[in-house]
Symmetry: C2
Subunit: 443 residues, 2 copies
């Protein structure tokens, strides 16, 4: 680890001198790499101080942040941004306050790096696993300024440094948030370059970042399938994909109709533009005649367009006929597919075929059905008798999440502090060797 | 999950009908995908029975296996294979017996899928994490028939299916081992296609496999830097790299000379062709005059060529001068770099600059130095007072390892059963929704 005096040049972003973006991004990544070495050894107090300072900055500079976001929205609107993207871009006073609370919640969580477990002892050898940071993380995401806050907070607390490349629509707000992060880091005595916002709308910047496999340890892309495919196919750096959610609620024959109706309504309407919003409801045929008309009215009252299978029309004549394409589309809008199924098996087969292995729920009072659903649905998060909205770090004791992993390695589902670390093996011997003593008799 | 009758066609490899390799590999992967669904739900008994049947088959067919390997070696020798690769290719009776023991050890380990932990409870919600298989794993490796046994055993026990693409030098032996795996699986009532050996020397087969991101969940490449780069840069599938080890032993000023000599000798000579064999020894200047001459004699007696820094020559005049290139070369042979350093800091800086973050050891009786080394060396496995040979699954209670991860996500260091699984979140509610009751009052 370099001595403190040697770290100085990386303490400020002014150290980045290159004028061409190609070079500038490499220089930024080098500074982030050096900052990661410092962050990995930083005290819990210094990391928490960064988070609470950032919370305070969000409070005192809230008007400025919201103004930058408003300007971003104006420009995006002029360019004809889609309404659902606009909703994701919005960062109003309420959303700033929510981030302030999240920052303080994360500061109160235990430091994930304190953990060490003994996994094996034998023949005088002690084998431990110690939790360590990942290093340098590159985050690539669309719009959503709140990700700039969450990702910075979780990465720093877990001892990582991070390069943040948000959507060009959010340029002004993200640039300001990046400056505030650096102020918070420096105030806490940590290198400012531990959190760097790449404020560029040049797409080549991302390609350049993806080529830096000597400097970056992990890429986390959050966005639509096109972004995810481009990132995963364009780098040698490990990638944990945060992709679309085609999520389901299955209403079993043994469901409690009141709970089922509330859960479907909540899963669809609470936040339609998030990835764990539900896109399709599967209803067992035995409960459909008694259940669907009431659900239909509630959905209609909430402004939800229902796209139903043929058997659904018989019960909800006003429903729009669903096409095959509806079952594998992430609407991110007040549109809901409804399909009547004959059996739990049919529901499981539908989810296996059309789902994205993200978030799926069953509503049932039958514990056997619940256990089969939980066991056989191959999704990162499987719920029983709860809204798909609960795939949410802040409700699961994580403070916030950096995103929801759609991969099947490292971490599935919401990624928080622990998921931004890895483990190293520590083996303690007392002169232990493999060979027989005769082999090392010369010593 | 398909009913048993529907699974029939995938139970035998005869199901693969395509004659062109391009199509054949896709068909194999589809069968593996179906087998993975069965394996993920298979009983511990059936999985263990597969392993013990394979152990018995290795015993009864050992002559045949060794004969196939001998034929592979003959052909490889005619083609002028390097001697160190030849050593990795060898699969003699002793090595077969070692695999029989490993299979039985893995069968005796607990099933990693039995694990479930409650991570959060609040407001009547219970949040659990349940260990689940990864799914379909594609393993790409050079020579080494024993990997065909280890990888099959660990994947099956962890509930995964696996496609094994070994080196073309090991074609005959691997093809036979694949047939035995399928016999073992069928004997235990599991789908034969859960372990499939891709017996082809056509390089396009690997490219085709890497394109199957809809069917394969994880690629594990084991081999030299060129193979690793080609695999990591050529796929959208998550990759956990098993790459080269440039491993170090640092002999501290406070080292016990007897332990240090035995550890260096063992780390270099016990198995020079494995990735965790040591390539460089760093010796503190205070202990060098008393320690190095004795170590030098022991190394010389063991046939090790020493490549030393300038200060090393003064103590070992017969040492070959080390070049800059020696410090970052994985010799995999009886060649050892020796460098005298002034301080622990200098040793740490050398390891950070030239090491491959794989396996590094300190020999010291000073607990402060040990703790600093363990904390600051950023390698998957860090040892104190033990040979780097102990980065070995069989000595760490894992039965065997599928390889040693050089990545910083999912798993670092040796990967065993647990590292071949992931976790899914299981959230249990009782009608839980996010919105206020008024929002769902229609229900």
């Amino acid at each position: 680890m370099p001595a403190e005096s040697q770290m100085k040049p990386t303490m400020t972003i002014q150290g980045v001198k290159s004028r061409r973006w190609r070079d500038r991004i490499v220089e930024m990544a080098q500074h982030t790499r050096q900052a990661a070495d410092v962050l990995g050894q930083a005290s819990t107090d210094a990391k928490n101080a960064t988070l609470t300072r950032m919370a305070r900055l969000l409070e005192t500079r809230a008007d400025e942040i919201v103004a930058a976001n408003t300007r971003d929205i104006e420009i995006a609107t002029k360019r004809g941004i889609e309404s659902r993207l606009l909703e994701r871009l919005r960062f109003d006073h309420d959303k700033v306050t929510a981030r302030v609370n999240a920052l303080r919640a994360i500061a109160h969580l235990p430091d994930p790096l304190a953990e060490e477990e003994t996994v094996f002892t034998g023949d005088g050898l002690t084998v431990k696993k110690r939790r360590v940071p990942i290093g340098v993380i590159g985050m690539i995401y669309e719009a959503r300024p709140h990700v700039t806050v969450n990702a910075g907070a979780l990465c720093v607390k877990a001892g990582n440094a991070v390069l943040l490349k948000g959507g060009s629509e959010a340029l002004r707000c993200n640039r300001l948030l990046g400056a505030l992060w650096q102020e918070a880091l420096e105030g806490a005595g940590l290198p400012a370059s531990a959190i760097q916002v790449i404020a560029s709308s040049d797409r080549r910047v991302v390609r350049r970042l993806l080529a830096l496999d000597e400097l970056v340890d992990l890429i986390i892309p959050r966005g639509g399938p096109q972004l995810i495919r481009a990132v995963a196919g364009g780098t040698r750096i490990p990638v944990i994909k945060h992709s679309q959610g085609i999520c389901h609620v299955y209403v079993d024959a043994q469901a409690d109709p009141g709970k089922a109706c509330a859960i479907v309504l909540d899963s669809k309407t609470y936040a339609p533009s998030v990835c764990n919003a539900t896109e399709t409801v599967l209803v067992h045929r035995d409960i459909a005649p008694a259940f669907l008309p009431g659900l239909g009215e509630a959905l209609r009252a909430a402004g939800v367009e229902v796209r139903g299978c043929e058997r659904t029309w018989a019960l909800l004549p006003w429903a729009v006929p669903a096409t095959e394409g509806d079952w594998d589309t992430e609407h991110l809008d007040l549109v809901l597919g409804v399909r009547i199924v004959d059996t739990l098996d049919e529901a499981l087969a539908h989810i296996a075929r059309y789902g994205s292995r993200h978030t799926d729920a069953i509503v049932s009072e039958d514990s056997d059905c619940v256990e089969r659903f939980v066991r056989e649905v191959d999704s990162g998060v499987v719920l029983s008798n709860a809204s798909t909205m609960f795939n949410d770090g802040s409700r699961l004791g994580m403070g916030a999440e950096i995103g929801i992993s759609a991969d099947k390695i490292h971490a599935r589902g919401p990624m928080g502090l622990r998921e931004l670390t890895c483990q190293k093996w520590v083996i303690e011997g007392d002169g232990h060797v493999f060979a027989q003593p005769a082999r090392t008799a010369q010593c």
